[in-house]
């Protein structure tokens, strides 16, 4: 159980803490941040290579398998990373219960909407429907 090594002794004694997930968010934020390093560099390269190109050329390049796969990975990884990040900000600064509930829910809705819209667009570009 390698993952248990990053659990605090208190978590092992008392279970998973107030959020019932222990250090999962912390750890997943680290995983997605490591993945974000090459994916962000790839995004910058892709965007620069598409600057000033016609719509037809952009569609062709964005829809090509390698670029589409990189963009999908970027979107999925970024969505999860930003979901954890904004949740952390909300938990730190929003203390009124109902407002906290609403903003946490809005965070989830926003992230899902962005991720699905972007992923759908990439797949449409790729499959050319």
């Amino acid at each position: 159980m390698k993952q248990n090594q990053i659990l605090t002794p208190m978590r092992r004694v008392r279970g998973l803490g107030a959020a019932h997930t222990g250090t999962q968010d912390f750890w997943h934020q680290r995983i997605t941040s490591v993945a974000a390093i090459p994916l962000t560099i790839a995004l910058v390269v892709i965007v620069i290579s598409l600057l000033g190109r016609s719509h037809a050329a952009v569609v062709q390049i964005l829809g090509s398998p390698i670029v589409a796969i990189i963009m999908l990975l970027f979107i999925i990884n970024t969505a999860y990373h930003m979901w954890i990040g904004l949740q952390e900000i909300i938990i730190d600064y929003v203390h009124e219960d109902k407002l906290k509930l609403v903003t946490l829910m809005a965070n989830t809705f926003f992230v899902f909407a962005i991720a699905f819209a972007s992923a759908f667009a990439i797949l449409k570009l790729s499959f050319g429907v």
Binding site: R30, V34, I37, G52, V58, V59, M71, F120, L125
Partner: protein, 142 residues
């Protein structure tokens, strides 16, 4: 009974321990970089709308993509993209700095100051480089 009374009152009346917040820390570059990491992350959260707009517009067709290009080509669009570029690269370098700390390195005072300085100097330099390369790729400013 004194012990019992003391036990019942302390739990309810003793102030709960609070985490130290912004005001107790001395202002330093590492403090500013810590704040900027969160602020740049917050900005990027909404900046991803640009990526989604870009992809959906490309998928929707030439007209939608033309609207996107028109906005990004405008002065406001370019400023937004410049800000997005910097926030992205700053958060990237700030994240690498945090990963270095997670591995247990870079906690000495001089190392902390160096990492903080490297983050801000690096993010501004990289932003300039990316924009110069971007304009060169387009065949010069237009």
């Amino acid at each position: 009974m004194a012990e019992l009374e003391a036990g019942t009152t302390t739990a309810a009346q003793r102030p709960r321990p609070l985490s130290p917040h912004l005001q107790v820390y001395k202002f330093m570059l590492s403090y500013l970089m810590s704040g900027l990491h969160r602020i740049s992350g917050f900005v990027l959260y909404f900046g991803v709308l640009l990526i989604a707009w870009w992809l959906v517009a490309a998928a929707a067709g030439p007209n939608a993509y033309g609207n996107f290009e028109w906005f990004m080509g405008s002065l406001i669009g370019r400023l937004v993209l410049l800000g997005y570029t910097w926030a992205l690269l700053h958060h990237l370098l700030g994240g690498i700095r945090h990963l270095i700390w997670d591995l247990g390195y870079g906690f000495e005072p001089a190392e902390r100051e160096f990492l903080a300085l490297a983050t801000i100097v690096g993010s501004i330099s990289l932003t300039l480089i990316v924009w110069v390369v971007g304009y060169l790729a387009m065949g010069g400013p237009r």
